[in-house]
Amino acid sequence: MDSGVQEIVIRAGQTDARYWRDLWSYRELLWFLSWRDVLVRYKQTVIGIAWALIRPFLTMIIFTIVFSVVARMPSEGNAPYSIMVFVGLLPWFFFTGAFSQASNSLLENERMITKIYFPRILIPLSSILVILFDFLVALLLLIGLFLWFGFSPDWRAVCVPLFMALGLSAALGPGLLTAALNVRFRDFRYVVPFIVQIGLYVSPVIYSSSLVPEAWRLAYSLNPMVGVIDGFRWALLAGEFSFYWPGFVASLAVNLALLLAGVLYFRRAERSFSDVI
């Protein structure tokens, strides 16, 4: 914090111009909150952090058996189906985790909100960071999978952080929106799991987006997660995946629009959180 005496002006009906500066000065709290959530999640568990590996791993195996062996769904080029599914599952798990955690985060921290001031956006942000941690752990599993199948990605893999950033924004936008709405309308507690459930079918997780008929492909791509998952497949499947640019642009546009809407609505609603929660 700065040593000089700072002056805070609180004026009725005016959004505090210092908000983003405050956010920066509270950055340590962001780490502390995420650190708390990571600690709490694995307290009193026997295998602890291994849960972050087991869940995606078992899902991948089940999906491979059901959709590849039984339903005979095609993979992407020469890439093994398991790898194709896992590369899609990683960002999908991140999205569903981050989106649902962010939506409930404000309600779970009700006491802090009514008692203490800090930029409220830290709460959903920190809950997303926790899921990001899980994602990084699961990434290790992917490396193991590459070794097992003897499959190696090429130079495109350096783009993964870029698509991860898109995944973050895809979860953050709707997450902020539903988090703020949840404070006032508890209905969204039921809406979010539904979106997550349906999302699995309208996102290219268990299948490749190249299976979508050409006529539908652009409309299909309005789902922000289509761009993210396609991006992951393009970056990690060593050129076995052909990129569909118009779809990616559409997906990116929706993604950014939702992020903007999320941030704006959250900022507007934030002022009355402690009164209505």
Binding site: M1, V5, Q6, E7, I8, V9, I10, R11, A12, G13, E28, L29, F32, L33, W35, R36, L39, V40, K43, Q44, R111, M112, I113, T114, K115, I116, Y117, F118, R184, F185, R186, D187, R271, S272, S274, D275, V276
Partner: protein, 426 residues
């Protein structure tokens, strides 16, 4: 000396809805939106003014507060429940925004609206110190620097690596307060934290607060304990009905508060369950204080036995349900506490009363807290300052002492004097 806080014309209004649901459902908003739209459209067609929705009402928790606090001043804010104290603190600590007005605050501000905010039961004492300190605005460096001091103050060294869910409530509170007491803001906002812990720890906290004040920090203090306000604060502000009704020395404010207390609340009834104090298990319907015998009427005197009566809805099943009544002076000192005999309970509406004998309390203003609990230690609900009443003095025997008789209680004791011998007149 500069000005630490300057508030001008600060008001805060809340919209209270007379619906019974604890929170809004989207369905209701859409339905009432559609209804209002239809009604509005009809009104426009009929050329009438649009009426406001009757289910909602505006409530002003604060009205036109002007306040100036100098650097290094220790200011006490007092007032009855619902006077607006907490709202004022919330606005100053920025957890809620004012509806009108402007506030300028110079310096870092930290609020202790409730100790232990952000404590997580699963985390150890050590982890919670870091987390809580960060939530209250300390940086990582500051926490490292003061960690040992905090732990020593809380006296929990041996349990640092135990999850706080295994702490006794005393240890928990001590640790929470210790973190808060080691914040270094220019302005410290404190709400009722001193009412926790045992007497010895309270003394320690008071000492710490005085030290903070001496270091030149500004302290804003809200309390129900007039004694604490008098001993800690240099200035006092009395709030009532959302306005400042008295400001001046702490002593003046406390005197004004006592006069206000005379307009007591001996009979309260809540018609709408949404406004009655309570929670998911207990919801009050009415509460009153009345003379125990029907003969006596009007004023309660030091001689009158009286009853504390509550009618409430209980929504639980328990083997051993009991009530507690606590009578305090308006200074916050507890005169006595009494618990009912445990009994089994089923959902329903109940009436409970507790008879307090005459010749017990001294004259003065008293406050009653009522609590509900089950199975020995499980609290269900506590209504603080539910009622307040005044005990009047009675006419004393002619020639007796005329001044105020000191003491919290005024028992009628047996006195005997007998003459042992007759001495010769000097």
């Amino acid at each position: 000396m500069g000005i630490a806080i300057r508030a001008e014309n600060v008001s805060k209004s809340y919209t209270i809805s007379h619906q019974q649901q604890p929170y809004l459902l989207l369905r209701d908003v859409m339905a009432s939106g559609a209804r209002n739209f239809a009604r509005g459209a009809l009104d426009v067609i009929r050329g009438r003014n649009r009426a406001r929705s009757s289910a909602q009402e505006e409530f002003w928790a604060l009205k036109g507060i002007d306040l100036e606090v100098n650097d290094g001043e220790r200011i006490g804010i007092i007032g009855r429940n619902g006077a607006g104290k907490s709202t004022l603190l919330k606005i100053l600590s920025r957890t809620t925004e004012p509806t009108t007005g402007e506030i300028r605050i110079r310096g870092r501000i930290a609020s202790l609206l409730e100790v232990g905010t952000g404590f997580h039961p699963e985390l150890t004492g050590r982890e919670n110190v870091f987390l809580n300190a960060a939530i209250l605005g300390m940086t990582r460096q500051e926490i490292h620097r003061r960690f040992d001091e905090i732990v020593a103050f809380a006296e929990v060294e041996r349990f640092l690596d135990t999850p706080v869910k295994r702490y006794s409530s005393g240890m928990y509170v001590r640790l929470a307060f210790a973190v808060a007491a080691h914040l270094d803001p220019e302005i410290l906002i404190i709400d009722e934290v001193l009412s926790v812990g045992d007497a010895q720890f309270q003394k320690k906290c008071l000492g710490r607060m005085e030290q903070v004040g001496r270091e030149g920090r500004t302290v804003i203090f809200v309390s129900h304990s007039m004694q604490t306000v008098l001993s800690l604060c240099s200035r006092g502000i009395l709030l009532d009905g959302g306005r400042i009704v008295a400001a001046g020395s702490a002593h003046d404010a406390v005197t004004a508060y006592r006069e206000l207390g005379a307009s007591n609340q001996i009979d309260r009834t809540w018609l709408l369950p949404g406004q009655a104090p309570g929670n998911e298990w207990i919801r009050l319907r009415s509460a009153c204080i009345r003379p125990a015998s029907t003969v006596a009427s009007g004023q309660l005197t030091i001689r009158t036995p009286f009853c504390v009566e509550v009618v409430y809805d209980a929504n639980l099943r328990a083997e051993a349900f009991f009530l507690g009544v606590r009578v305090r002076t308006d200074y916050g000192d507890i005169i006595f506490a009494s618990g009912s005999i445990p009994m089994p309970i089923e959902p329903g509406t109940y009436h409970s009363e507790c008879t307090v004998p005459g010749d017990l309390l001294n004259d003065g203003v008293y406050v009653v807290d009522v609590s509900f609990a089950r199975d020995g230690t499980v609290p269900l609900f506590r209504a603080e300052e539910l009622l307040s009443f005044e005990i009047h003095d009675v006419e004393r025997a002619s020639g007796a002492w005329l001044g105020k008789i000191p003491g919290a209680v005024r028992p009628r004791l047996k006195w005997e004097t007998e003459r042992l011998s007759v001495s010769a007149p000097a």
